[in-house]
Symmetry: C2
Subunit: 193 residues, 2 copies
DNA sequence: CGTGGAGTTGAATACGATCAACACCGGTGG
DNA sequence: CCACCGGTGTTGATCGTATTCAACTCCACG
């Protein structure tokens, strides 16, 4: 479990064994089963999650009781409510497990420690944030300009492996269409596509 | 022009006159008229913008030739293509002037210098980024769960002054509805609302 | 004046949502 | 081992909301 995360860090920035040792106290392995909730809406988040195995997701529930999925986090992805974590504000969404999942719970203090120990990491974390911002912008644009079918095709292209392992209704929720509509979109694509 | 920006910085973090003097070389005042383009799509952005007077916007043009507005930046707001600016990647969108606008063109090097001179600024800039991320998440959620009318009402609530000064078709583009639909939404609200 | 862009209104259309019924599969307990 | 059950996905029919296309008004600006 630790190995995965260390390999991830090494792939992003040069880090020594000694540096790894110094940041290790700031994260802990956790395992949860499908459906378990890690972070509730309005709760203050105490840690970020780095997924080692399985898949987590963040989502909201609207006033009509419908779930809307904001993000999926499969292996080697981060998921967190950063504003809640850093500013100790109430979380804007839920985080739970789509599958049985092993992840690292990464303390609030981890990031400060990482920046102390490996100054170059600051740029890396910053870029992660920017790319996250960019992906939300892209997704917004796809809602402003594309049909459900186009968004589904884009999803297949950018997350081919997720498309296979996730239940269809979750993909529908992520895309912003009903499960029925997604079913019809797939039927359509299967026939004349 | 410089005064506005200095006042803005002081409102966010404590800075001395000396510190201000040290970062001043890294930004320049600019004035452009309505409709002028500051950043083209696919171009590499060389600076961020801090709006002193007027209003800028970022937008994309889809394959059907339609504009979709990503962000407005009135007085005291930032607008930039951060990924392009920092990573020297092609810009994902255009930035132009909605009105005649005075702004500060803030060099790529500004931020490194600011962080050197005022270390506390790093947290401040980071929070700005996080709140920007959060606002995109909120907007995405509003597209997943709310109607055009609801999004318009939310826009009125969060940007009351913008709603008055912007042409309706731009608000429509920002909300992701056609100008005709927005016109009807307003009519509806005016009568029985 | 005259021209063009912005906003409004109407009618027809298209797309996705809703409601409802059913098939299929996987797991549980008798 | 089989019967049952709930959840997931499919399909059909209907409905509603927003888009499209078109015509017209109004106003700002040359």
């Amino acid at each position: 479990m630790f190995k995965t995360f260390e390999a991830y860090l090494r792939s992003k920035i040069p880090v020594t064994d000694e540096q790894l040792r110094q940041i290790e106290p700031f994260y802990k392995p956790r395992s949860i089963s499908k459906g378990q909730i890690i972070l509730y809406i309005n709760e203050v988040s105490e840690h970020a999650c780095f997924v080692v195995n399985g898949c987590l997701r963040s989502y909201v529930i609207d006033e009509k009781g419908k779930e809307h999925i904001i993000q999926f986090a499969p292996e080697n992805w981060w998921i967190s409510e950063q504003v809640s974590l850093i500013d100790r504000e109430p979380s804007m969404y839920f985080i739970d497990a789509v599958e049985d999942t092993a992840y690292l719970a990464i303390d609030r203090a981890f990031f400060a420690q990482l920046h102390n120990v490996v100054p170059a990491a600051r740029e890396m974390m910053n870029m992660l944030q920017l790319y996250s911002l960019r992906s939300f912008q892209k997704r917004l644009i796809s809602h402003l300009s594309a049909s459900g079918e186009e968004r589904y095709l884009a999803f297949l292209k950018t997350h081919p492996s997720l498309a296979l392992r996730l239940p269809q209704k979750m993909i529908a929720s992520y895309l912003g269409v009903t499960p029925e509509s997604l079913s019809r979109i797939r039927k359509e694509l299967a026939s004349h596509g």
